[in-house]
Every structure is written in structure tokens, then in C-alpha cells.
């Protein structure tokens, strides 16, 4: 390959005592797709933020086409031809596609250069197959289209190097294919691409070369990802072997949770339409689907946060009469919400308080309206020990814990009360392989003990590994349910995009 488009040499960046990056070397040639692998906290995002001008490195230099450059802001990065697609999109939902593209672009004789913008957008559409309706407000775009807009935005500004931070996390399998096709086309036309991910199969399918980070340092380089095994790369990422937990056969018992014709009409998000499903004791049911297809409403109904307009729900054979978190919890439901930081716990309170919050009024933790601080503390201490939650102690501010430790704490708080049914959303989102592994093992333990578990997730591989059956949600309905023995990513992917099984046969 020719001279590198971008070269980072000896990049070191510390935050206080923590070295987020240490002597990292990295280069991307024109036409090359570089994979940047690493667990959470390995320093991938910090490294890319250094490249995009958000942080100044403590040491090291950045060269663009062999010339050293100083990048102090995103404006500098853009001027150097570096574009970034962040994990959380940087778009204004109420402005149009074109307005989001033209932001920061000088106008023509004092006015926004609409004609020029449209021409440029059409040109990018032709070159890479990335088409978008310029006058639609961004809020009307699907997540995949918003991501396309972010890519177009970078190209619009003349980016020759594109950084994508976990771009597939928000996409359905078919959309992933489209994204990969576009990225390959861009690389073929001489652009450099840095693809950040921890999904090993995607990295193997897409990238030409990989750099693996661990604890802020380069742990290894993979020159031929397509012919390197996933376990080899996982070993580089974690520093030790990772064996996925094996799901043994199970003999499901009676249904512990049933939903019968549940419909909602909610103000925000996709409503449920006539959803019926069941979970038996000792089985794990997966709920797959592109996010925004009713998963949130489903989780809210099952956990009693929102009442349905129609339909019937039973927990452990008893009909749910009153939809409130406390009522369904009393019937034997445990819940681990999707967003650990906002609905999971109170980040500014001590961990111990968050761990007893759902049961704060029960006899275990209060008497005659007064809290029992010793009991609360003892409970938290016991769970911290049992689940190996890494924190200075039960009085630590909950928000100070890492994602993996928070998830352990949430799991501990539910499992301590032996729920008959457990509903979890995105159980391992944002967790590294080690922490995810721990969570998975706990689920399988609970399954063996006869708990019925519902896992709402977007990571199909995770669902296939964990679940006995997988239901797919599409536009608020259950589009189909597959036994995991019959389920493949392709079949699930078709259901996720609304294509029925009949179309699959065609």
C-alpha cells in the first residue's frame, strides 16, 4: 500500500492517574479499512477523540499524508480530512437533512447555498449509493438513514478518513449489509476507514487489518482478519481465553408469564398491537427486533410501568389486575431495565440505597415508615460480596461504578428475591466480554433453577446463544417466534424487517 493517509505515533493520553492511551501507533492507508478492536475502557474512543480533536494528547504526534498536524478541535480535524460518525449521532432532529449537512459550511453571498448543497448531496449519492431526501426532517428518518446522513455529512465536508464508532450497534442485519457495501465502495475509491467494534465477526468480514487495544496499549495487530479466528482475536482483546457458556438442554415447566392480546396506545414510541406470548419456568425467551418496534412498550407493560388498553397478563398463574411495578413485583416478577443510569438506579445516591429501592417499603428494609439502615447496608454488602461487584463499599455513589459492575448490582438486587419471571432489556449492552460472560452465566443458572427469563436484545448472536425460543417484534406485533434450534441470523433478520416467512421461501 502507498503512504499512510493518517498516522498516529506514540499517542499517550492520561486522565488523572488513568492512562487511557499509552504509546499507541496506528496508521491507515488510502483504500484501507482498519478495524479498531478492544473491550470497553481499552481506550478506543479516547484514541479516536484525540484524532478528532476533542482531546489533546499528552505525547505523540499525528501525521496526515506524512505531514505532522496539530488537531485541537473538530474544525481542525475536518480541515485535515478526518470525519467521524459518533455512536450517538450528532444531528438536530427538527432540522432538515440538507440543513444538517450545510451546518458550518460558508454560504454563497451571505445566503445558505442550497443549490450547491443539493448538487453535492446528489453526487455523493451517485458515488456511494448513499441517497437521502434532502428536505425531510431528520426526526422522520430511520436510525439507519440517520447513520447514512452522518456518513454523508463527513463526505460532504471532504473527509478522506472516516471513523465509525460501533456503527452496527443500532442496525438491523440487512442494514448492516448495506452499510458494509457502502464502506467497501468508499474504500475502493481511495478513502481510509477506521471501523471501531467489538463484534468480531463483523471485523473479520469487513476489515483489511486490525489493531487490538487493551488497557490503553496496543495488545496486538492482525494483518489478515478474515483468516484469523474470533477466539484468537478475543484472546488479544481480553488477554485470556474466553469460552462461551454452554446452554444445556432444559425441560420447561408451566408458563410463568403469559400475555394475551395486549395492546397499548402510548404517547411516545411504538405501541403494542395484540401481543400474545408466554414464558415457561426454566426457559429463556428472547425478544429480537430492530429497536423502536415496541420492545420498550413490551418491557414497560410486563414490568407494570404502563398499563395496557386491552389484553390480559398473568404472572405465575395469577392474573395481573393492577399494573404497577410494585404489584407485578409482588406476584414474582424481577426486572432489569434497559437504561441502567436513568431507570435502573439513582446515580447520585449510595449504591446500597439503589439496591433496595424497588423493595424499600417492604419489611426487610423498613419498619413503620422508617428505614432500617443496618439491614439495607447488610443486604448491599452481602450482594457486593456474592456478585463480586467492584466498588469501595456500599456507600459509594452508584454513578461512580462501571457499567459491568452496575449491571451486576441490578442483577443481584433482583435475583436476591428469587423471582419466578425475570425481564431484562439489553442485558450486556456496553459491557465487555468478561462482564457479559458473567451475566450470561447467571441467566443460565436461573434457568436451571426454574426461573422464566425474557431477554429483550438487539444482539442476535447473544440471543441465539442464550435463548430457547426467540420472538421477533416488528411494528408493535410479534412477527414470529422461532425455536432457537431452527433460528438463524438470516431468518431472524427477515422477520425483523417485516418480511414474513412466506417471503423467505420465495
Amino acid at each position: 500500500m502507498s503512504a499512510p493517509l493518517i498516522e498516529m505515533r506514540g499517542i499517550t493520553k492520561s486522565f488523572g492517574a488513568v492512562k487511557a492511551n499509552e504509546a499507541v501507533d496506528l496508521s491507515v492507508a488510502p483504500g484501507e479499512i482498519l478495524g479498531l478492536l478492544g473491550e470497553n475502557g481499552a481506550g478506543k474512543t479516547t484514541l479516536m477523540n484525540v484524532l478528532f480533536g476533542a482531546y489533546a494528547p499528552d505525547a505523540g504526534e499525528i501525521l496526515v499524508e506524512g505531514r505532522p498536524v496539530t488537531i485541537n478541535s473538530s474544525a481542525d480535524a475536518l480541515a485535515a480530512g478526518i470525519g467521524m460518525v459518533h455512536q450517538h449521532f450528532h444531528l438536530a432532529p427538527r432540522l432538515s437533512v440538507l440543513e444538517n449537512l450545510l451546518i458550518g459550511i460558508p454560504g454563497k453571498s451571505g445566503r445558505i447555498d442550497r443549490a450547491g448543497g443539493l448538487a453535492r448531496l446528489a453526487e455523493i449519492g451517485r458515488q456511494h449509493g448513499l441517497t437521502l431526501d434532502p428536505d425531510l426532517p431528520v426526526a422522520a428518518l430511520s436510525v439507519g438513514e440517520q447513520q447514512r446522513l452522518e456518513i454523508v455529512k463527513a463526505l460532504f465536508r471532504g473527509a478522506r478518513l472516516l471513523i465509525l464508532d460501533e456503527p452496527t450497534a443500532v442496525l438491523a442485519p440487512t442494514e448492516v449489509d448495506g452499510l458494509f457495501a457502502a464502506l467497501r465502495s468508499m474504500a475502493a475509491q481511495g478513502l481510509g476507514i477506521i471501523f471501531i467494534s467489538h463484534k468480531l465477526n463483523e471485523v473479520r468480514a469487513l476489515t483489511h487489518r486490525c489493531v487490538v487495544l487493551r488497557h490503553g496499549r496496543v495488545a496486538g495487530r492482525v494483518d489478515d482478519p478474515a483468516n484469523t479466528t474470533s477466539s484468537e482475536m478475543a484472546r488479544l482483546m481480553c488477554g485470556h481465553e474466553i469460552v462461551p457458556p454452554a446452554r444445556g438442554p432444559s425441560t420447561p415447566g408451566a408458563a410463568v408469564l403469559t400475555l394475551d392480546g395486549i395492546s397499548t396506545s402510548r404517547h411516545s414510541g411504538m405501541a403494542l398491537r395484540d401481543v400474545s406470548l408466554f414464558v415457561r419456568a426454566g426457559e429463556i425467551l428472547g425478544i429480537a427486533g430492530v429497536s423502536g418496534n415496541g420492545q420498550r412498550a413490551l418491557a414497560e407493560v410486563i414490568s407494570g410501568v404502563a398499563a395496557p388498553d386491552a389484553g390480559r397478563m398473568t404472572i405465575a398463574g395469577k392474573k395481573v389486575e393492577q399494573f404497577s411495578p410494585r404489584a407485578v413485583q409482588a406476584l414474582g416478577l424481577g426486572r432489569i431495565p434497559e437504561d441502567r443510569m436513568t431507570t435502573g438506579l439513582v446515580t447520585n445516591l449510595p449504591l446500597a440505597d439503589s439496591m433496595v429501592l424497588p423493595r424499600i417499603g417492604t419489611e426487610a428494609f423498613s419498619r413503620k415508615g422508617l428505614l432500617k439502615p443496618d439491614a439495607i447496608r447488610a443486604f448491599a454488602e452481602a450482594q457486593i460480596k456474592a456478585y463480586d461487584i467492584r466498588c469501595p463499599g456500599p456507600m459509594t455513589r452508584a454513578g461512580a461504578l462501571s457499567g459491568g459492575n452496575l449491571q451486576k448490582a441490578l442483577l443481584a438486587r433482583e435475583l436476591a428475591f428469587d423471582p419466578q419471571v425475570l425481564i431484562v432489556s439489553q442485558p450486556t449492552r456496553g459491557l465487555d466480554i468478561g462482564a457479559a460472560r458473567f451475566i450470561h452465566e447467571k441467566f443460565l443458572d436461573m434457568r436451571a433453577k426454574g426461573c422464566g427469563i425474557i431477554v429483550i436484545g438487539e444482539d442476535l448472536e447473544e440471543l441465539l446463544m442464550l435463548c430457547d425460543r426467540i420472538a421477533v417484534m416488528y411494528e408493535g406485533r410479534i412477527a414470529g417466534t422461532l425455536d432457537s434450534a431452527d433460528a438463524t441470523i438470516a431468518r431472524l433478520g427477515l422477520l425483523m424487517t417485516g418480511a414474513g416467512q412466506t417471503e423467505e421461501a420465495a
Binding site: 473538530s74 474544525a75 444531528l91 450545510l102 451546518i103 445558505i112
Partner: protein, 314 residues
């Protein structure tokens, strides 16, 4: 009732609406620019008062009306910059700082006025703006004398509305303002300085608030009194919501409010029944409350309103 109806369609009544609407239009446009960039400016009431004072004083001392207007505009810009310093550069609470700016500006206005003019039994006044009929247009029946025989500042307000819409929707700077008010992070990653854009929008807003103050003391009352603003700044904040953060709609909201206000003035004068005049005085404010209650249901504020931007928070 017929007496009232007759009065509505008088030239004088229409002219009164335009005159009442002018300071509200300036103030509402000013607040709108600030809020569109994500900065609520509760300093508006005090900024208008202080600008009314400095404008009046500059004219009184120099004899030049336009020098007075300039002083008022500069005062507005300075106080806007002060508000931006607290809320944009330092990222402090917009509510608290805005009220602080209002209290500070009001106090300063009273203090400086007393210092300069002392306590006089008859408050000093100036020869304010005279009406400036526009040739040809002012000859149009009814509309002509009502709309085109007004103060120069009124014409400026009329021009300010389309100009504000043009700047906001058609220029790169206006797009930047809207973007930093919706998603500052997006603007930042596109290389737009969020801090600079917000500063500029708040200062421009301050300039418009200054014009509103200048109109009150130099065209409407030709004197500075402590009640010269009397809540018009607060009303403008409501009108921005009522106008859904859009220049045309905001100006429309100002006109509607002015209509109700002019109407209640006429009703007071007509001595309808034995209703105490205070009841009529309430009308425009009741209208504001009702309009807010109805309209603000669908109103969607700029997403980043009230949210300070700090780059390192990711």
C-alpha cells in the same frame, strides 16, 4: 357594544395597535434569537428598562434622537453580553442569571437616572420622535394613516421581521443559531463554535431589546419613568412561546396582544357600564395566559434551551 365596534375600525385604533405592537415586536424578536440559540434571557425586562433610560438620557443630554437610539442599542448589547458571559461562557443557570440581570439592570437604571436628573417634581421629558408619513403609501385610505404615518422606529420594526426571518432561515449564521439551539454537539462536531454563536445571538437579542426600550422612552412616552416597561418584557417571553420561536408568528403574536391591549384601552375610555377600569387592564394578560395554555401544548421549544454546552461532557 356598537360604540365599541365603531371605535375598533377607526384609524386611530389601528394606529394604536401598530404603536403598541412595535416595542413588543422588537422585544419578542430579540428574545426569539436568544432562545433559538438555546439561551433563555429573563434579563429582558431589566434590559428594556435600562435601555429606555440610557436612550432617554443620551437624547436629553445631546439633543440627538438617533444618538439616543444608539445608546439604547449598545446598552442592550452590553447587557446581552453580560447574560451570555454568565450563561454561555460560565454555563450558569439561565433562570437565575436572567433574573439577576433584570434586577441589576433595573436597579442601575433607577440609580443612574436619579444621579443624573435628581428628584424633580415634574419629570424631565424630551421631544421624542415625530411621525414620519411615507409619501404615497400614507394616502391609502384607513390603512395609510394607520400604518404609514408612524414613527421611524415603527418602520424599523416592520423591516426587522422579514429581516429576522431571512437571517434565521436563509443564512449560514442563522442555521448555526438554530443548530446550537437544537443540538450543540452536532454544531460543534461540524466545526461551528457553539460559544461564539450563542454569544452573538444573545447580543443581537439584547440589541433588539434595546430598541424596544428606546421606543418606549423616546417615541411612546417621551420620558423615562420607573414604570415605563411595566411587564412588556415578561409578555415578550410568553409571545415567543405563542409564536413558536418563529419570527413571523412571533410578530403576529405581538400584533394580537397589541390588539387586545388597544381594545381594553378603548373600553376603559368608553366607560362601559360601571366596571372598574382595572378589570379592563387585566384583559391582555388574561389573553396571554389563555393563549399560552392553548398554544403551548403544541409548541416545541428548541431542544437545547436552558442547557449549557460544555465540550468535555461526553
Amino acid at each position: 357594544m356598537s360604540v365599541v365596534l365603531e371605535q375598533i375600525f377607526q384609524v386611530g385604533f389601528l394606529a394604536a395597535i401598530i404603536r403598541i405592537a412595535t416595542p413588543l415586536a422588537f422585544a419578542t424578536l430579540g428574545e426569539m434569537f436568544s432562545e433559538r440559540a438555546g439561551v433563555l434571557n429573563l434579563g429582558i425586562e431589566g434590559i428594556m428598562l435600562l435601555s429606555a433610560m440610557t436612550g432617554f438620557t443620551a437624547t436629553s443630554l445631546s439633543g440627538s434622537l438617533w444618538l439616543g437610539v444608539l445608546a439604547a442599542v449598545l446598552t442592550g448589547m452590553l447587557m446581552g453580553a453580560l447574560h451570555a458571559l454568565f450563561t454561555v461562557a460560565l454555563g450558569l443557570s439561565q433562570h437565575v442569571c436572567g433574573i439577576g440581570v433584570t434586577l441589576f439592570s433595573s436597579g442601575l437604571a433607577y440609580f443612574l437616572y436619579r444621579l443624573i436628573f435628581g428628584q424633580q417634581s415634574v419629570p424631565p421629558n424630551i421631544k421624542g420622535f415625530a411621525t414620519l408619513p411615507i409619501p404615497v403609501l400614507s394616502d391609502i385610505p384607513v390603512l395609510g394613516p394607520a400604518v404609514f404615518n408612524q414613527f421611524a422606529l415603527v418602520y424599523m420594526a416592520m423591516l426587522a421581521i422579514p429581516l429576522a426571518a431571512f437571517v434565521l432561515y436563509r443564512t449560514p449564521w442563522g442555521l448555526s443559531v438554530r443548530m446550537v439551539g437544537e443540538n450543540p454537539r452536532a454544531a460543534d462536531s461540524a466545526g461551528v463554535s457553539v460559544i461564539a454563536t450563542r454569544f452573538q445571538a444573545v447580543i443581537l437579542g439584547g440589541a433588539l431589546m434595546g430598541l424596544a426600550g428606546a421606543f418606549l422612552s423616546m417615541a411612546q412616552f417621551n420620558a423615562f419613568t420607573f414604570g415605563v416597561v411595566s411587564g412588556r418584557g415578561w409578555v415578550a417571553i410568553a409571545l415567543v412561546v405563542f409564536g413558536r420561536w418563529d419570527p413571523w408568528r412571533s410578530a403576529g403574536a405581538a400584533l394580537l396582544f397589541a390588539f387586545v391591549d388597544a381594545l381594553q384601552l378603548r373600553m376603559q375610555a368608553s366607560g362601559l357600564g360601571h366596571i372598574p377600569y382595572e378589570a379592563f387592564l387585566m384583559l391582555p394578560f388574561i389573553f396571554t395566559i389563555v393563549a399560552m395554555a392553548v398554544m403551548s401544548r403544541n409548541a416545541v421549544a428548541p431542544s437545547a434551551l436552558l442547557k449549557p454546552f460544555r465540550r468535555e461532557e461526553r
